[in-house]
Each structure stands twice: as structure tokens, then as C-alpha cells.
């Protein structure tokens, strides 16, 4: 069951226990295990690879400094995603304030490249991907984060709720609203129904 993943068990628990004693290599292992998931969320929220990597590093640093107070009610992955999400939101707010003051600045505007996709496929999918990227960009942050956590990270609603700091019911509503927006905006990318 997915909900079982909420509990702190298995290798993460061992690594965490070691990291709490000051074992930096154990914490490094935790970083390597979960950095990719955190980066996926951060890069989608921030639409900038550099900013995303910065936020991910901050998130793991904060987590390391707060290890003593981590009670293990949620999984380490949920915890780190939660921190990443909040830091990314802070970044978005700061960026909004900057833009209000200095006008809209540029960011790289591209998500991290997908190594699995070959050049031909990448080119063919580029238009669709760009459109989808724009639609995702326009989603409210919580809807976007909930959708990404659900679809790309495969988290259960209870875990999505833990990351966003809300209830599972609200998480479901966010995902539902995000899907509705996608449906409205991406009709032309979807095949005909059966």
C-alpha cells in the first residue's frame, strides 16, 4: 500500500539513524536517494534549473540541520519534498516582489533536459511540451505541486497532503482542479476518445 510508505522504514531509517549520529556519508546517501525527486518538483515550480538546484541544496542543508527534531511521522522523502516545496514557494514570492519592483526578469525557462529522449523524439514533442509547460506554469503553485507530486512522484494523496501541509481531501481537490485546467487547455493534444 502506498500509505505504508508514509512510515519511516527500511534503508531510509537506517541512513537517518546514522546521519543523526553525525555520519555525513549516510546523509550523503539520503541526498543521492531523494535529490532527483526534489529537483523534479523544484524545477517545475521554479522553471529554472539553477534555481531548482539551489533550492534542493538548501532543502537538504535545512533538513540536515533539523535532523534532531525530525520525528519520523512521515517518510524522509515526504519531509524533504515538503521542505523543497516551501523553499520553492519562498523563491516564487521573492521573485514576484522583484518583478513588481524591477519588472519581469528572465529565467532560463526550460525544464531540465530528459536524457531518456532522443533528439528526434525531443524535437517532435517540443511544441506539445512547450504548450504543456506553459499551461503548467499558469497553474496556482499548490495545484501545480499537487499534480506533480501525484503524477510524477506517484505519491498517495495522504503523502501529497503531508508535503503541502494540508488535508488529503484538499490535496485531492488541488489535483482535480489542476486536471480540469489541463483538460481545458490541452484538448488539442489529447487523442480522440474511444
Amino acid at each position: 500500500m502506498r500509505t505504508a510508505a508514509m512510515a519511516l522504514t527500511g534503508e531510509d531509517a537506517l541512513l537517518l539513524a546514522a546521519a543523526r549520529t553525525g555520519d555525513r556519508s549516510a546523509f550523503e546517501q539520503l541526498v543521492r536517494r531523494h535529490a532527483r525527486a526534489a529537483a523534479r518538483i523544484a524545477s517545475r515550480l521554479l522553471e529554472s534549473r539553477e534555481d531548482a538546484e539551489d533550492v534542493v541544496q538548501d532543502a537538504f542543508t535545512n533538513a540536515f540541520l533539523a535532523l534532531a527534531s525530525f520525528r519520523g511521522h512521515a517518510s524522509f522523502k515526504t519531509w524533504i519534498l515538503h521542505i523543497t516545496f516551501n523553499l520553492a514557494q519562498d523563491q516564487i514570492r521573492q521573485r514576484a516582489r522583484r518583478e513588481r519592483t524591477f519588472g519581469r526578469g528572465g529565467h532560463d525557462g526550460a525544464a531540465l533536459p530528459c536524457p531518456a529522449a532522443g533528439p528526434a523524439r525531443h524535437a517532435a514533442a517540443r511544441d506539445d511540451a512547450e504548450h504543456l509547460q506553459r499551461v503548467l506554469e499558469e497553474l496556482p503553485p499548490r495545484q501545480k505541486a499537487a499534480l506533480l507530486l501525484k503524477v510524477y512522484e506517484g505519491l498517495a494523496y495522504a503523502e501529497v497532503a503531508a508535503v503541502l501541509g494540508t488535508t488529503p481531501g484538499a490535496a485531492r481537490v488541488y489535483v482535480s482542479l489542476a486536471r480540469q485546467s489541463l483538460r481545458r487547455r490541452c484538448e488539442h493534444l489529447l487523442g480522440e476518445g474511444p
Partner: protein
């Protein structure tokens, strides 16, 4: 191209997304999948969501490059070194960090509270969500919201309007909960505490808005709203809605208060509705007591009937106990219908109410028979329902049982089928024994499509229904095969006049030779001998010969089976045939 609105059918909409996300537990998943097979609307909705998922996965430009982990790990370790030069001192560093965050958070909280104090008394006091938030995994590492955002007047006004719209519009919708969640989702996205807002909105000065919030609290089962609802019940303009909601949310806790309000002409309606919403047996008793008061009798009856089985059961129970007001109330509405009795009997676990319903069924006669017959297949209720049918009695009861017997046979194979058939058959015997005109009843039923079943029942009655068997045998309009079986039953019971039976062979032989042969055998068993064989004289030789051969075959079969219905008559029959054939 405009696509249809793919949200599935209303009843299953809540499960659709959970199914797509693979979060539906086994039992509802199986139910939903079987629903999907027959529902194109839901199938299309599921397909659509899967296409959206595929679209998202197709755009996979999110995966970091291969050296990503190395970069992140190195960067994190560098930052940790910068924050805490000695890795062994992680814990003290964490405490210092937490203390720092606590100060920032406290400052922000004070700013937030101060800012909200300025406007919340007007409309939306901030409810506490501290406990919920304290469990957040970010309690030690998050960042507080920017105070500037919380005090922006435009944002507050927008939120106020959004909550108003959500409550008011959702209050007008059939699916309140779904509508409300959708409409308040954007507020939840901004961290507005929706449940607290509903409680606060109940106290709003705008009566329409408060009433919408009260309905919302009831629909959302917001028990935290009970104190606010009690306050709202004291306000003239919100009292009706609040009383109804209180009955639903507080249940038995509010029964006394609502009962007292039944005397208030202005609030009696909402109070009765509140009791009905509560739906408890105690509320039903309170409403049934109110039937004695003419000024609220109609309200109480309506509320009782709104309660469904609980209310109807209470009415029937009182009626069975001789309560004249309950009897009047039921009679005035011509209640209950056979469908209501059926539903009540099927769902009711209270033996007292069950007895009352069956008593009602007995009193209401043939009207209740369809409802009762539907219970024959339910082992728990079958005998009680059959008893009620027997008490109703008469032709209608007999035909109901005959029809039920056929249905029971159609479902044969279940573990209770044999027991059900036996019970139904016994009930038929009891109906016939109790009927003053049983022979006439049996004769009429034997002619009908269920005649075989009737004769079979008569044969199982251990000879107690000989007059019915005789009536069937004597009926020339009855099918010969049924008459023959009746003749055999009479012969076994020693109630057949053999020579007279021989006289009927002529009339049946023309229609059914097998039946005539059986009657011949029955007559032989009942004492018809060679001296009576002249009674077969009207038969043509071409008819008589095969008939007698058939009778001989039947006798031989009985002999070879070793279970002779006529063990001591075989020699007599053989002798009869030997003598009769040359003479005919």
C-alpha cells in the same frame, strides 16, 4: 473541437479519480470496475484522465542529468560545513537553527494576528489550526508566510467575496459538498482555513449568507459548528436553518430542546425537521408523541415519514399497540404502501417493529401480499412473512404462495431453496385447511397454470386435504394428468371409490392415455375388480387395448422399482387386466 464534459456519472464521480490514481480499496474498486463495464460515461472519463496522465509523462523534460546527484551532494556538504564546521555538533546547530526560525515565525505570527484582528471581527475570525500545523513535517525547517500578503486589503476582500460565493452558490447546489470543495479550493490554496470560515460565517450579519453557511456546516458534518449553531438558533432570522442543522449534527443531544420548540408555532416546523434529520429512535418517539397534539400533528407526521424506516416503524409499532393517533395518521395518508412495508421488513432488525409491520400486513390484507412474497427468499424473514400470508388467507394468499413456489423453484440451487420450498408448501396447506371453501378454491387453482404445484401440495398434506383432492379428481375441466395424480393420492389415503373411478377412465382416455392408465391403476388399488370391468365397455377396443397395456406397464414398473405404491394390488390388477381384455 469541443469535447464532452468528461466527469463520469454523478453517483460514481467521487471514485473515479481515486480509481485513476490507483487509490481505491479492493471492494469499491471491484464495484467500480463492474460499473465501468456498463457505463460509457465513466469509461470515457477514465480514458480521458489516463490520456492527461500520458500527456504529462510524455513531456518528461524534468529528469535531471546524470551528474546531478554528485553536484547536489557536494553542494549540500559544502553548505553543511559552512553552517556547522564540525559535523559532530549537528544537534546543537539544529537547536540554534530552530531557535532562529522560531523567532522569525513568532514575529510573523504576531504580525499576522495583529493584521487579522483589524478585519476578522467584521466577518471571518481566524479559527485555530495550530494543532494541525504543529504536526507538519516542516515545523522545524519551513519558512513563515510573508506578513505583507496577509494584510493586503484587496486580497482580503477577494477572499471574503470568494467565500461568500462559495457558500451561497454551493448552498443552492444539490451536491453541496462537492460544489463547496471545488469553489473553496482556491482559498484553501492560499491557506485559508475553510472549516473555520464556515463556522465564522454562521455568525455573519447577512442572514442569507449565514443560512447558507449553516446548511454548509450540516452538509459537511461540521460538528465543530454546533456551538455556533446554538447561537444562530437564538437569532430569529437564522433560527429555522440552525434548528434543522442542530438536529442533524447534535442528534440526541438536541432532542429535548427541539421537543420544547414544537409548541412554538413559528419554530415548530424547523424543530420537527431537525428531529427528522437527527433520525434517531428517540427523535421518532418524540415526534410520535407529538401526534397527540392537533396543532403539530401534520408536521410531526410529515417529519416521521421523512425519517424513513425509523419513523414508519415507530408509527406501525404504536398502531399495533393500539395508539389511535398513529392509526389515524397512517389511515389519513393511506400508508404504508406494500413497497414501504417491504422496505421496512427487509431493513428492520428490531423484532418489535418487525412484528408491528407484519401485523399491519395482516390487517391490510391482499394489499401487502406482493411485499410479503418478496421476503420468501430471505431466510431471516421467510417464516414470519409466510405466517402473515397464512393469516391473510383466501384465494389471493393461495395464489401468492403458488407464484412464490414457482419463483423459489426458479432460484433452486441455493442452500435454502429446499427449505424455502417446504415452508411455502406448508403455508399453502395451512391456507387451504383454514379456508371454508377449500375444495372450490383447490379446484379453481388446479385448473390454472400452477395446478401441478397445487396437486403436489395436496398430495403432501398427509391426507388432510382429501376433499380438495376429490374436488380436483372430479373436475372434468381439470387436466387429466392432474386428475390422475389426485386419484392416486385419494387411493393411497383410502378415500377413492374404485368402481366409480373406473367410470372416469372413459372420459380421460380420450384425452390422455397415460392419465387414464394411472386412474385405472388407482381404481384397482381402491377396490375395483373384475366385476366392475364392464365400466370400461364404452371404450373402443382400439383404445382399450393400449390403455390396458399401459396400465400393465405401470404396474410392472411399480413392481420392478421395489417401491410399489400398490404392492398388494399388483395381483389384483393383473387379474383384472387378464379378465377384462377378452371381454372388452
Amino acid at each position: 473541437m469541443k469535447r464532452p464534459h468528461k466527469v463520469g456519472c454523478r453517483a460514481w464521480r467521487g471514485r473515479l479519480l481515486l480509481h485513476v490514481d490507483g487509490e481505491l480499496p479492493a471492494a469499491p474498486r471491484i464495484a467500480f470496475e463492474s460499473h465501468l463495464e456498463g457505463c460509457s460515461l465513466c469509461r470515457e472519463a477514465v480514458d480521458f484522465h489516463l490520456q492527461v496522465e500520458e500527456l504529462l509523462h510524455r513531456s518528461c523534460g524534468l529528469e535531471p542529468d546524470s551528474g546531478f546527484e554528485d553536484r547536489i551532494a557536494a553542494g549540500v556538504l559544502r553548505r553543511i560545513d559552512a553552517a556547522a564546521p564540525s559535523g559532530a555538533q549537528t544537534a546543537p546547530v539544529a537547536r540554534a537553527s530552530r531557535a532562529r526560525w522560531f523567532l522569525v515565525a513568532a514575529a510573523a505570527a504576531v504580525a499576522l494576528l495583529l493584521s487579522r484582528e483589524l478585519w476578522l471581527p467584521c466577518f471571518l475570525p481566524q479559527p485555530g489550526r495550530g494543532a494541525e500545523r504543529s504536526d507538519s513535517p516542516l515545523a522545524c525547517a519551513g519558512t513563515p508566510p510573508a506578513p505583507a500578503d496577509a494584510v493586503a486589503p484587496a486580497r482580503l476582500e477577494a477572499a471574503r467575496r470568494a467565500v461568500y460565493d462559495a457558500l451561497f452558490q454551493a448552498g443552492c447546489a444539490a451536491d453541496y459538498r462537492g460544489e463547496f470543495e471545488l469553489r473553496t479550493a482556491s482559498l484553501a490554496a492560499e491557506d485559508w482555513p475553510i472549516e473555520g470560515i464556515v463556522v465564522a460565517a454562521i455568525k455573519a450579519a447577512d442572514a442569507d449568507f449565514a443560512a447558507a453557511a449553516i446548511r454548509g456546516a450540516a452538509e459537511l458534518s461540521l460538528t465543530a459548528a454546533v456551538p455556533a449553531l446554538r447561537e444562530a438558533a437564538l437569532r430569529a432570522e437564522t433560527a429555522p436553518a440552525a434548528l434543522v442543522a442542530l438536529g442533524q449534527l447534535a442528534g440526541d443531544q438536541e432532542v429535548d430542546r427541539l421537543e420544547r420548540l414544537l409548541v412554538d408555532a413559528r419554530l415548530a416546523g424547523p424543530a420537527a425537521a431537525g428531529l427528522a434529520r437527527g433520525g434517531s429512535p428517540r427523535a421518532a418517539r418524540t415526534l410520535a408523541d407529538a401526534l397527540a397534539r392537533p396543532e403539530v400533528r401534520e408536521l410531526a407526521l410529515t417529519a416521521l415519514l421523512d425519517m424513513g424506516n425509523v419513523g414508519l416503524g415507530e408509527l406501525l409499532r404504536r398502531r399495533a399497540g393500539g395508539d389511535a393517533f398513529a392509526a389515524q395518521a397512517l389511515a389519513a395518508r393511506d400508508l404504508p404502501s406494500s413497497e414501504q412495508v417491504l422496505e421496512l421488513l427487509s431493513a428492520c432488525a428490531d423484532p418489535e417493529v418487525l412484528e408491528a409491520a407484519l401485523f399491519y400486513a395482516h390487517e391490510s390484507g391482499a394489499r401487502a401480499l406482493p411485499a410479503l412474497s418478496a421476503l420468501f427468499a430471505t431466510p431471516r424473514l421467510r417464516r414470519a412473512a409466510l405466517d402473515a400470508v397464512v393469516r391473510i388467507g383466501g384465494a389471493a394468499a393461495l395464489y401468492t404462495l403458488l407464484g412464490a413456489g414457482v419463483e423459489t423453484d426458479a432460484r433452486a440451487g441455493g442452500p435454502h431453496a429446499a427449505a424455502a420450498r417446504a415452508d411455502v408448501r406448508l403455508a399453502m396447506v395451512r391456507v387451504l385447511r383454514a379456508a371454508p371453501d377449500a375444495p372450490r378454491l383447490a379446484r379453481a387453482a388446479a385448473r390454472g397454470p400452477w395446478g401441478e404445484r397445487l396437486v403436489e401440495t395436496l398430495l403432501c398434506a398427509n391426507g388432510t386435504l382429501r376433499d380438495c383432492l376429490a374436488a380436483v379428481f372430479a373436475d372434468r375441466e381439470c387436466q387429466p394428468a392432474r386428475r390422475a395424480r389426485a386419484a392416486l393420492g385419494l387411493a393411497e389415503a383410502g378415500a377413492l371409490d374404485g368402481p366409480r373411478a373406473l367410470g372416469t377412465v372413459f372420459e380421460t382416455a380420450l384425452l390422455d392415455q397415460d392419465a387414464a392408465a394411472l386412474i385405472l391403476c388407482a381404481a384397482a388399488r381402491a377396490g375395483a375388480g373384475a366385476e366392475h370391468v364392464t365400466l370400461l365397455a364404452p371404450l373402443a377396443r382400439s383404445t382399450a387395448e393400449p390403455l390396458l397395456e399401459r396400465a400393465a406397464v405401470i404396474a410392472a414398473r411399480w413392481r420392478s422399482d421395489g417401491e410399489p405404491p400398490l404392492p398388494c394390488e399388483q395381483a389384483r390388477l393383473a387379474r383384472l387386466l387378464a379378465q377384462a381384455l377378452p371381454r372388452v
